[in-house]
Structures are given as C-alpha cells and as structure tokens.
C-alpha cells in the first residue's frame, strides 16, 4: 500500500481499536455470557444438565436429524452444481434463484409450509394420518423443516467454484475415455473437495442449531421430538437457567468449532491457490 492510500497512524490505531472493541462487544461478549451463565454454579450442575436423559435424547435427535438432512442437501447441491456448471440448458438463472430462495424465507415460515402440507388440517395430513404416517410432530417433519432451512448451503458454495473452474479438465477426461462417474469422482471431486467440506460443515452447523423451523413442526415432546435448541428453550422457560445455558454452551461450541474449521479450510484452499498462481 502506498503512502497516498495509507491512513495516518493515529487514525489507523483508533479505527482498529474501535473495530476490535465493537467486535468484542458484539461477538465475544455473548459467547462469554453463555459460558458464564452455564458455569455460574460450577462444572457439576452444568454437567448434570447435559447428561440428563432428556438432554441426551435431544442430542441424539439433533444428530439424527442432521445426519439425514445434510446428506440430502449435499447430494442435491452436488447434482445442481454439476448440471449448472458442467452442462448446457436454458433457465439456469431461474434455477439458481430458486435454490437460494430458502435463505430469504423466515425459519418459521419454513416450518409453517410443512404444517400446511402435512398438519392435521393440511393438504395431505389427514390422508397420511389415515395410513398411519405421522410427519408433523414427528421425525420426518423435523427433517423436512431442517432440509428446507439448510437447502442452499452446499449448492451455493459449489456452483460458483465449479463454474469458475470451467469444463476443460472434465472434457479432457471425456476425450480420454472416462465415463460420467469416473469424471466426477476422479477429476471434479478432487478439485472441489475442500469447498464441499466447508459447505457441508456450514450446512451441518445450521441443521443442528436450527430453532424456528423445527419449533413449528416439533410439538416439543420431551425425549421424543425435542432437538437441542428446543430443549434449551424448554429449560429456559422452566427457569432451569443453568441447564439451558449448559446445553446452549454445547451448541455454541459447535458453532465455534465449525467457524474454526471453516477458517482453516479457507486458509488451506487459499494457500493451494497461491501455489498455483
């Protein structure tokens, strides 16, 4: 940076300090508050709250929901990215807009739409119920709402990257005799694996942490349809603050770890790009 675009030192220091102070207040204080509240009475009560059977059930359910929802969106995202980046068809912009649509929809509406479809007064609810299928207030509803909310994550990270990488390597592989799956597994996937991993991580964090959408479809049955974020809410509403904050701290840890992993992945890919340049 040249002297002309360099701000004077006092301004620089003041701006950095102000930025750091703001960031600390906005981002670090909440994290610290969660931890402080969780450990207000020491480790023991916090640990008891987390190892409570209802909490364990909530953790299990959260893991299960994410384990179903994330692969669905990863598969869909990869398929969409392949079609958009490596093939020719009309309507790509429309498709991309539709894929990103769920990001602009309120989580509560994301849950609501499935209640409208499968709830007691929904379009298909009564019929499905007659055959014994429970969707709302049951696992399928939680999964559907979670898939909706985390829908664009993988597609969004892959599409621009795969478009930027172009098709030459894939075309070269095709002229050398490789079939579709061989091209994908041996040529495309190795080139996007870190981005895919980052997308999956973000998708997973959101899936495990989702609150509004699952809150609408869950029915809040303890031990059965309560995910971790919902469990936090119940504990909080029952004035079991230590328990609520202890489970929240666990979720916060998930967020922080995700963030750290994402930053690491970005550093890795940036370094690789640097090597190529």
């Amino acid at each position: 940076m040249s002297a002309a675009t360099q701000d004077p030192a006092p301004a620089r220091i003041a701006l950095v300090l102000l930025g750091a102070a703001l960031a600390a207040a906005i981002f670090l204080l909440p994290l610290a508050a969660v931890l402080a509240e969780a450990l207000r009475r020491g480790w023991e009560p916090a640990w008891t709250a987390i190892s409570d059977p209802d909490s364990i059930a909530a953790i299990r359910l959260t893991l299960l929901v994410a384990a179903i929802a994330v692969p669905i969106n990863a598969a869909g995202g990869i398929a969409a990215a392949w079609a958009i980046a490596k093939c020719d068809f009309a309507g790509k912009r429309v498709l991309i807009t539709l894929i990103e649509l769920p990001f602009s929809v309120s989580p509560v509406i994301s849950g609501l739409v499935y209640v409208l479809l499968f709830g007691a007064q929904g379009y298909f609810g009564p019929a499905l119920r007659a055959y014994g299928f429970e969707i709302i207030f049951a696992l399928p509803g939680l999964v559907l709402a979670t898939v909706f909310v985390t829908f664009p994550f993988v597609a969004r990270t892959l599409i621009p990257l795969m478009q930027e990488q172009g098709r030459e390597e894939e075309e070269a592989a095709a002229t050398l005799g490789a079939g579709g799956w061989q091209i994908f597994l041996r040529v495309t996937l190795p080139n996007v694996k870190w981005a895919l991993l980052a997308g999956v991580l973000l998708c997973n964090a959101r899936a495990m942490g989702e609150f509004g959408a699952v809150s609408v479809v869950s029915g809040h049955i303890r031990g059965q349809t309560n995910t971790m974020p919902l469990h936090v809410e119940i504990l909080y509403n029952e004035y079991m603050f230590v328990g609520a904050f202890a489970v929240a701290a666990l979720l916060a840890l998930l967020g922080v770890v995700t963030l750290a992993a994402k930053t690491l992945l970005e550093t890795l890919t940036a370094r690789r790009i640097g090597e190529h340049a």
Binding site: L15, L31, E37, A80, V94, L112, P229
Partner: protein
Amino acid sequence: MGASAIAPRSASRHQALPGLGLTLGVTVVWLGAIVIVPLAALALKPWELGAAGVLAALSEPRVLAAFRMSFGGALAATLASVPVGILLAWAITRYRFPGRRVLDALIDLPFALPTAVAGLALTALFATNGWLGAPIEAVTGWKVAYTPAGVIVALFFVALPFIVRTVEPVLRDLPAETEEAAATLGATRLQTIRRVVLPALAPATVTGFGLGFARAVGEYGSVIFIAGNMPMVSEIAPLLIIVKLEQFNYAAAAAVGLAMLVLSFAILLLLNLWQRRLRRGQR
C-alpha cells in the same frame, strides 16, 4: 413454477459431458419436493378464508403491530449495522494488526452460532442485571431486554455479518490507483474516502443491506428470548404465525406468512433495482 422453464435447450442437443439428465432430474425433484410444493401450499392456503377474510386477518391490530415491529425493527437494525459493518470491513481489509484473522473469523459467528444460543446470550447480556443491561440502565435509565430495543439489538447481531461480507470483497478489490489519483489531484484523505471510496462501496452496501434485512425480518430464534413478546409492543410477525398455528388457524397463519414473504420480496426487488442503478451510474 420453475420446472417447466428449466429444460435442455433442445431434446436432440447432445451434451459434451454426461449426467445432465440425472443431475437435473435430482435437482428438480429436490427443489420441487422441498421448496416449490411447500411454498405453493403457502400461496394457496390463505385463500380458504376468501379475499375479504385474508384482508381481515391481516388488518387485525395485533397483526399490524407485529408487522411494524418486524419490518421496522429489521430496518432500524440493518441501517445501524451499515456503518459498523463498513468499519469492520475497512479494518480487516486495509490494516494488518495482531488478531486480524481472529476478528475476521469472528464476524461469521452469527452465521455459525445457533440462533437460540444467540438469543439466550443476548438476553443474558442485556437483562437488567446483565453485563451490558445493568450499566445501560444505570446510565440512561433505558431497558433493552424485553422491549422493542431488545428486538433491534438481536436483529443487529443477525444482520451485521451480511454487510461486512458483501462490502469486504469490493473494498479489497478497489484499485489503489483511484485513491492515489484522488490524492494527486489534491484531495485530502477524508475527501478521498468520502468522494471516492464510499461511493464505490454503495452498490455492495445496498446488496448487503438487502441480505441482512431479509434475514432480520424473518428472524425468530435470536429475537424470541430477548423480545419479551408482548402483543402490540414487542411481538414479531414470525411469533404471530406460531400463535395462529397453536390456535389451529392454519389459513390465518398462512396469510401472515404469505404477507411477510410478499412484502420482503417486494423490498428486496426494490433494493435490487436501486443497486443496479447505483452500479450503472458507476460505469
């Protein structure tokens, strides 16, 4: 809706790379089942009440108050996040200082932190006995938690990263020559920033504003703990949907949901047009 508009350019047109049929098929099924059909249900359901019924459901004072809270709160919070966002983006793109990478990573925290956790944390911070709530009340006498101010604080937290992350790449790619040119033409540093740098950031800022605003309008988890949820005062529109659902009034819930979506898409569209005009003006 979209499925018919998306089709291979012509049936006989070969593709150099295989897999279009499979991948587009998977995409359309995935998109249709998860997004299109459910949103179609949202678009249809309210009309069970009839047009007059929808209007009546939306013009209830409690509904109107909730819309004012959600949209007004989102507007205030996103506006407040613009200067802070630009400042943070400036700090992490223009300066090298210890902890810059940590700061950079932290900005994404609202993306990665579960919303319920953020809500709980902000409530604890801004409660009358909280680390921030207590001093604020002592100095100004204002309460933050359980008031509309609390809603705005939570939405600010949610919207901020969108501003930073859209402004940041533009700021980074801004050619140093333009600033140097301004300096050679006799502009002071402040003049350069005000007349050269900030206008260049305008389109990205509008885009970031739109993204942050859209997210904030629909936000639920971060808000619900700190809002206090008093009808007519600090109740947000998404909560009202849940209230209507608990009353088994699906159509009214759908009406509120649809109105929220239509309104926020209309605002996004306007922002998009504005952003394009700004961008064109710069070319």
